[in-house]
Symmetry: C2
Subunit: 95 residues, 2 copies
């Protein structure tokens, strides 16, 4: 349940998702996440770092081995979500 607490915060899942493409700079993440406020992004990155999911590397922030493992689990959401989105009226996504 602590995992859901961590990942259930704003942008946490999005950051992990984005970082799966490789290392990104702070501002790159910021832009790819539809402009997250730097305050929150910084907080999420710190949380994910002390949780051993994200680390800093040569090319900026990147997933740790553990983080990549987590992304492996997260991956199926991608395909599932497109199916799911089609089964809904567009407006429902904004509630």
């Amino acid at each position: 349940m602590a995992l859901f607490d961590l990942l259930g915060r704003s942008w946490a899942l999005g950051v992990v998702w984005q970082l799966s493409n490789g290392g990104m700079t702070f501002r790159q993440i910021q832009e790819s996440c539809e402009k997250v406020s730097p305050t929150v992004l910084n907080r999420r990155l710190k949380e994910l770092t002390t949780s051993g999911i994200v680390e800093r590397g040569a090319s900026g922030y990147q997933l740790t081995a553990t983080g990549l493992e987590l992304f492996g689990i997260l991956k199926p959401f991608g395909t599932w979500s497109t199916k799911w989105a089609e089964s809904l009226p567009k407006d429902d996504l904004h509630e």
Copy 2:
């Protein structure tokens, strides 16, 4: 990304997780989630309902077919999270 927005709200993942055990009443969910405030629980349930993940049945709230499918994807988190929790100092879970 809309999926992460929906599931990245407080208790959303927790509710889906709890409901996987079968139908639950409003108050049962409330207690199993370490006392979520009714305000938020009600909102999450409405969101998940209009998103076709949760529905109301004879025994209270329950997952739809789509919801069960989602839980199938969510399931691996369970085993992964225990491993993950062990690889961390206890305190890190509270940040």
